[in-house]
């Protein structure tokens, strides 16, 4: 399993400073979340960990080694599911194994297993456009999990889903993750989602993004969304984001 670190990371796109002085350590098996307003550069952090972007200054490390390119052991789950419309569910889920040239029978076996786990058994031959939004995102998660990655990077995975489906999917994610020891980093602008899912929560400022506060949610799972601790934590995050209260 992998420990993720960012040390003194700055990132600019041309003249635009997006991230400044980012220091972050996510321990092996930890579930971390970054919360922040849109455009604060939180997705950029994730993309650097996925190996899709490079830091302008500072270090991006996995187990102490610099991350220079994508690696299937660290998979990124995109906001818009990004399933290939010309592939069926099983072909989409098997994509990573196909790239790694694994034998067909092995692929089939693992695809069926993971689809069963995410509740898509029986939908092997369906095309993405035949599925609902929640089912597409399940397929996208299955596609990442089937490779048994050490790190899961989630980029606002439920941002496009309706509220009911989103809550159901959050529970599913916890069920899939528990006991696997995988390191998870979730990017979200949904404060409740972060508090409900993560062990540690990093609150980000607007651009240029930096961490305002780090919080630890020492709550047992499953968490009560209306418990005292939950509500306190939520209030703290909102205060940090300057949306905790307002005057008329």
């Amino acid at each position: 399993m992998q420990k993720l670190e960012l040390k003194g990371v700055n990132k600019h796109f041309g003249d635009l400073l997006v991230l400044t002085n980012i220091n972050l350590t996510i321990e092996e098996g930890e579930f971390a979340a970054i919360v922040g307003p849109s455009g604060c550069g939180k997705s950029t952090i994730l993309r650097m960990l996925a190996g899709l972007e490079e830091a302008s200054e500072g270090q991006v490390l996995a187990n102490g080694q610099p991350i220079t390119k994508p690696d299937p052991r660290r998979t990124l789950i995109f906001q818009e599911h990004a399933l290939y419309p010309w592939r069926t569910v099983e072909q989409n889920v098997g994509f990573g194994m196909e790239l790694a040239k694994e034998p067909k029978d092995e692929r089939k076996k693992r695809i069926d297993e993971i689809l069963e786990k995410v509740g898509l058994d029986g939908f092997q031959k369906y095309y993405p456009h035949q599925l609902s939004g929640g089912m597409r995102q399940r397929a996208s998660i299955a596609r990442a999990l089937v490779l048994n990655p050490e790190v899961l990077l989630l980029d606002e995975p439920y941002g496009a889903l309706d509220a009911i489906t989103r809550l159901a999917m959050q529970n599913e994610l916890i069920r899939l993750w528990r006991g696997t020891g995988k390191t998870v980093l979730l990017i979200t602008h949904d404060i409740d989602e972060a508090v409900y899912l993560a062990d540690s929560i990093y609150v980000m400022s607007p651009r240029p993004g930096h961490f305002i506060q780090t919080l630890h949610a020492d709550m047992a799972r499953p968490r009560n969304r209306n418990g005292q601790k939950f509500v306190e934590l939520r209030q703290k995050i909102m205060d940090n984001l300057d949306i905790g209260s307002y005057s008329i």
């Binding site: 994509f95 035949q130 609902s132």
Partner: protein, 286 residues
Amino acid sequence: MSTQDTQSLTEDISGTSSEASPGKRGKPSLWNKSWPYLAAVGSLLVVWEIGALIENKPFILPDVVQTVPRFFQSFSDAEFMNGVWRSMYRLAVGYPVACLLGALLGLLAGVSRTFAVYLRSLISILQSIPPITWVPFLLLLLGFGDTVIIAVITIASFFPMALSVMNGTEGVNKTHLELARVFGANRMQLLTKVFGPESLPAFITGAQVSFGNAWRSLIASEMVGGASIGLGKYLSYHGEIADMKGVMISIIVIGGIAALLDHVVLERIKRKLLHYRYVSGSGGKK
């Protein structure tokens, strides 16, 4: 809330079935699919028939009923059939060459920005020159024969393909490419597993537009003297000898062959290659 709404809502949460409506519709019958085509053909025939009745001079404008027997006789008329086959042969050579050339140029333009600018300017020049203006030039250059017509077809029909493929490669979804990289795709795999399937619809659209250009320029260049045998030549010759039935039949066959190739052959290939687009409904579980 209708039962269907309730059903799709519960399905969405439990995730045990598709939200798409149950696909019990079945396939549309042959009649449902083909009647608009028949209506289009029929309305043209009606206009012709009315025109012939008003004109009332069968040697100038024969009506539908008088022309039908000649139509069937034409299939055993060597002059006519040789013309048809010769035209088809030219199409069968020129059209694939044009598609291949267009696809190649389009792909190159997709890779290089500079070449894309070059290709766009080249196309805007070639597009403004009517294809048959090349006939005298090519006749002098290549001499009388099939090569002239095939060259005209190629000039006239490579550019829709090139344009379409160029636009298609520009439109490849960035997330689709990044996803493949995250999952460990190498350069070759990016090309075959993402670029290829993603731009396939552009190839097919290009091929369909190119086909129209190819067919029209083929007939036109045969008519203006690029050939001694061919469907276009038959048409222009029978116009000169005032054989109106021959002219009408040529027009019908020209339209018929193009419609058949486009709507039946090309459309089938398209549906086969892009079949994922035509799968609808849930089709029942398992």
